[in-house]
């Protein structure tokens, strides 16, 4: 390091770490010697149970989130294949599934109530367990300390709790699949009264109770994680890492965590009130109900109130899902186009804009619920505004590719795929956000196609991009590139083949969550198209096993990674190939520049890592940077 380097100023964060100091290992200790000693210490003393299972190391916790998420994703995908079988071949026999589904196959047909359970669980699993916990849980955990330059999360213990609450929640949800009355079946949005009354559908019995308990645990997990992410980003950044030098990944995780902290408690309250209605005879959401030959005594509740509470989380939730993907895609695009991300500040600004707006658009899910039409006008206005910051992001990504020098790594392919899917899915949001057009489109397959592209598939693509890109840092080995290419092209083509035709079905008005369309004149003309969608969906799903195989094979047999395989500028690549507890064996590197100095004119190499001071790069410094160097 040169003497031009600003003196390492011990920021308040360091003191804060000392103050927290609850971790059994001094993970955040800055002193070299201590850390080394401690390192040895650990390796000898630590039981595998504490090292790999109840670990407080953010990297291990990230892997736990990832693998749990992958298991959930396989399950969620399998469920979707089952109901796609039903939709593709409504008259076909499902007898052969009896060994798996047992009594849910009756006379060779899928039970219609179980069909609803399938779509409900598919939605719940994918939205919460895969794309919230699996995506944000994995990469926020993995990347925040590594990219801001911290030894670990602010509280390793809370971080561990976050995973284990998620694990508990998973166990409860998974168990609900096997109970007598079946899992929750009122749609992933669990609108009461259907979700409140076991008389209305068997899934609203014990299955729904378990759904609510699981979700409550899940929310606890999210809050523990979120508080940690926010604290770490605010307090534990290394020397020189100002907020304006953070990689966009961190900005995305940071804002995502804030959204989660502010919106998940509202879902908690909704779940709590629903539990009261279900078990203690209150009437928050129930009124004037006659069901199963009996008039219920509940009076004065409002089912629409539940929808307000649900979507107050539910809408930010879609941004909780997509924003981490946006952040990682920005990072992967810049690295592999060998170009700075275009409009760094505009990217941050649009993320902040999207975050703010995401809290004031929830009722666009409710235009035709009988809500006051005036509210509909307001929410249409606010909703369509979101197109502006979203557009800014897309244009900036395109400008990043422009005149780049693109290396198509598997991660890069998925990042480009993400942008394409985000455009395709996002644009139809302009139709659905328009209250007038939503009268026709609400709850049709147009909606299903829209959100599967814009938040489902896109977020998955972000997840894949992240896994392929940071796999070397996670496991010290490379994933196989060629298998990655095959995986990408199969998935990319598959996703479009599934969801583009789904728009047509939706424009014609085919309602979602229909066990079969055959009873309706207007919808029965799409038999062939439905079959086509089903085949494409099942093939695309099976294609994911290429990834699963590649992932697990490469953990053990992949090529050994180099320290910085993608020639990237961010801090995580300055750690050892397989960073131990505490991430950097020596001092944490200080940061001098923004994270996107790719292909800077005058520089010999086409990337300058963040920890290289301006004093070492006189040839490439811009005028104002030169001032800083001197």
């Amino acid at each position: 390091m040169s003497d031009m380097t600003p003196k390492p100023n011990l920021s308040p964060s360091v003191e804060a770490q000392g103050g927290i100091g609850s971790a059994p290992v001094p993970a955040t200790e800055h002193d070299d010697h201590l850390l080394h000693d401690d390192h040895h210490h650990e390796h000898h003393d630590q039981h595998w149970l504490w090292k790999y299972v109840f670990s407080q190391d953010h990297k291990v916790i990230a892997k736990q989130f990832l693998i749990t998420g992958m298991i959930w994703a396989i399950l969620g995908g399998t469920l979707s294949s089952l109901f796609r079988l039903q939709l593709g071949w409504p008259e076909g026999s499902m007898e052969w599934l009896t060994p798996f589904l047992g009594k849910w196959i009756q006379a060779g047909k899928l039970n219609p109530e179980f069909y609803l359970a399938l779509v409900t669980m598919h939605g719940t699993i994918m939205v919460f367990f895969v794309l919230t916990a699996g995506l944000s849980g994995t990469f926020s955990n993995f990347l925040i300390p590594l990219q801001v330059g911290a030894r670990d999360m602010a509280s390793g213990f809370m971080n561990m709790l976050s995973y284990w609450f998620f694990f508990l929640s998973s166990i409860v949800m998974f168990s609900s699949l096997f109970i007598e009355t079946g899992p929750a079946a009122a749609g992933w949005t669990i609108y009461p009264p259907l979700s409140a009354l076991p008389q209305a559908i068997p899934g609203s019995g014990a299955g729904m109770t378990m759904w609510l308990v699981s979700m409550a645990l899940f929310i606890v997990s999210q809050l523990l994680g979120g508080v940690n992410y926010v604290t770490t980003v605010i307090n534990l950044r290394t020397r020189g890492m100002s907020m304006s030098k953070l990689p966009l990944t961190i900005w995305a995780f940071f804002l995502t965590a804030i959204l989660g902290i502010l919106s998940f408690p509202v879902l908690f309250s909704a779940a709590l009130l629903l539990i009261f209605d279900r078990s203690f005879g209150t009437s928050f959401f129930l009124s004037d109900i006659y069901i199963a030959g009996q008039a219920l005594s509940n009076q004065g509740g409002s089912p629409v109130l539940f929808q307000h509470l649900f979507w107050f989380l539910g809408h930010p939730e879609v941004y909780i899902v997509i924003m981490p993907a946006m952040g990682m895609v920005s990072e992967v695009l810049a690295t592999n186009a060998r170009k700075p991300i275009f409009g760094y500040r505009a990217m941050i600004g649009s993320l902040i804009g999207i975050s703010l707006l995401s809290f004031v658009v929830w009722a666009h899910h409710m235009f035709v619920t009988g809500m006051n039409p005036f509210l509909g006008s307001v929410f249409m206005f606010l909703t369509l505004i979101i197109a502006v910051p979203s557009g800014v992001k897309v244009f900036n990504w395109l400008a990043t590719l422009w005149r780049g020098n693109i290396r198509f790594t598997a991660a890069m392919l998925f990042a480009i795929g993400f942008v394409s899917l985000f455009i395709s899915g996002g644009l139809t949001g302009i139709i659905l956000g328009n209250a007038t057009l939503d009268i026709q489109m609400h709850n049709t397959y147009f909606v299903v196609a829209h959100f599967h592209l814009v938040m489902g598939s896109s977020a998955f693509f972000g997840l894949f991009a992240g896994v392929y890109h940071w796999f070397p840092k996670m496991f010290g080995r490379m994933m196989d590139e060629k298998l990655g290419y095959i995986h990408f092209w199969l998935t990319f083509v598959g996703v479009y083949l599934v969801f583009m035709p789904m728009h047509y079905v939706g424009i014609a008005g085919f309602p979602r969550r229909y066990y079969a369309w055959t009873g309706f004149d207007a919808f029965s003309q799409f038999a062939d198209l439905n079959k086509f969608i089903s085949i494409a969906a099942i093939i695309a799903f099976l294609g994911q096993f290429i990834f699963i195989f590649n992932f697990f094979y490469s953990i053990f047999r992949g090529r050994r990674a180099t320290q910085n395989p993608w020639n990237s500028t961010t801090l995580e690549w300055t750690t050892p190939i397989e960073p131990g507890h505490g991430n950097w064996p020596g001092e944490i590197p200080a940061v001098y520049r923004w994270p996107y100095d790719y292909s800077k004119p005058g520089s010999e190499v086409d990337f300058i890592p963040q920890n290289v001071p301006y004093s070492q790069t006189h040839s490439s410094n811009l005028p104002y940077e030169q001032d800083m160097a001197e």
Partner: protein
């Protein structure tokens, strides 16, 4: 057994994958390509990007045109035609944005693929460009919002005075239909009075309920505004009539409404489609239980004269069900009895809680 076979197939598949994978590594070692090679696979992927744009775009255009008629069943309401124009205008706008951005994405990916010795252009920001692509979408959005807002206020505004009124009530799993009868006034209904015969829960102590009649099919006149009042008696349902561009939830405890003007009678539509069996359908579009997918009603648009005749020929619920009428008189007596004598009565008293029109 089946499970075992499938499991076996899956395991075999994995083994095949494993072998292929090993072979691939071996060949790459022998051919000396073990180190990361930007050259070959990079240009293959770049070309695939272009191929995807062209072939994918062509497939999309083809399938869109191919399915265009199927996805556009004829429209039969006044506001439906306005909505349709707005829909396709918006589609055109987003179609243009779609075309430009997707083309740029894939063309850039192809054009700026890695070339040895070339350097990416260091171009970090340009505020002028940012402002341009913020302001232009904002203006377009403003126009769409304005158009949407105007149409929305008109469609959801109060129904014209001369509207024909019909009420539907969703229940698991069919739709109940009733008309106000000769007095043009819907009578009081109360969910506590519902039973197997009195499915609506008619409170026949209310005079205006006496001439209300129920039907299996919905009849409405052509060319006259129709106000559909909507109720649910158990869980959420939604009235969805794609041909009329009508959709509104049925919410227990909160009556909702939607009005529209049909423009084409059922007979006219049958002639137009060349399908003598055609009927307008009312589908439930909010998941309501196992048979949600089969919950539908038929709606028949009559010529106004036919509608008048049909309406006049209907017999009221109270006339059809004298036993309900009698029971209601009996019940009314017990309900007015002193509360002390009938502790249950206070709780089940329908009158003050019933939603009335």
């Amino acid at each position: 057994m089946t499970a075992l076979t499938i499991l076996l197939v899956l395991v075999l598949l994995l083994v095949v994958f494993g072998l292929l994978f090993r072979l691939q590594i071996l060949t790459s070692i022998f051919s000396g390509t073990f180190t990361r090679d930007i050259g070959m696979s990079n240009s293959v992927n770049a070309i695939l990007m272009l191929v995807f744009l062209v072939v994918g775009g062509a497939w999309f255009a083809y399938s869109f045109v191919e399915n265009f008629n199927k996805m556009n069943p004829p429209i039969a309401s006044v506001h439906g035609h306005q909505m349709e124009r707005m829909f396709w205008t918006t589609m055109t706008v987003i179609g243009i944005a779609f075309l430009i951005t997707q083309t740029l994405l894939f063309v850039y990916s192809y054009k700026y693929q890695h070339k040895e010795g070339r350097r990416a252009y260091f171009f970090a920001h340009n505020n002028k460009i940012e402002v341009i692509w913020t302001v232009i979408p904002a203006i377009v959005m403003a126009a769409l919002i304005f158009a949407g807002w105007k149409a929305w206020t008109r469609i959801t505004g109060p129904a014209p005075k001369n509207s024909v009124v019909v009420e539907v009530m969703g229940k698991q799993f069919n739709w109940l239909v009733r008309y106000p009868g000769r007095d043009m006034k819907l009578g009081v209904v109360n969910y506590r009075l519902i039973d197997a015969v009195n499915e609506w829960g008619f409170d026949l102590s209310d005079k205006s309920a006496l001439d209300d009649f129920t039907t299996n099919e919905i009849h409405v006149p052509k060319g006259v505004p129709v106000l559909i009042k909507i109720r649910s008696r158990d869980v959420l349902h939604a009235v969805y009539m794609p041909h009329f561009r009508v959709q509104m939830y049925a919410v227990p405890g909160m009556p909702t409404r939607f009005w529209f003007t049909p423009t084409m009678s059922t007979d006219e539509m049958r002639a137009k489609l060349g399908n003598p069996k055609f009927n307008y359908e009312l589908a439930c579009n909010q998941v309501c239980g196992g048979s949600h997918f089969a919950m539908k009603a038929t709606l028949i648009v009559d010529e106004p004269d036919d509608y008048q005749n049909w309406y006049a020929a209907q017999q009221s619920f109270s006339e059809k069900n004298p036993e309900v009428m009698a029971a209601s008189k009996q019940k009314a007596k017990t309900l007015v009895a002193p509360v002390a004598a009938q502790p249950e009565a206070a709780e089940t008293a329908p009158a003050p809680l019933a939603a009335s029109y």
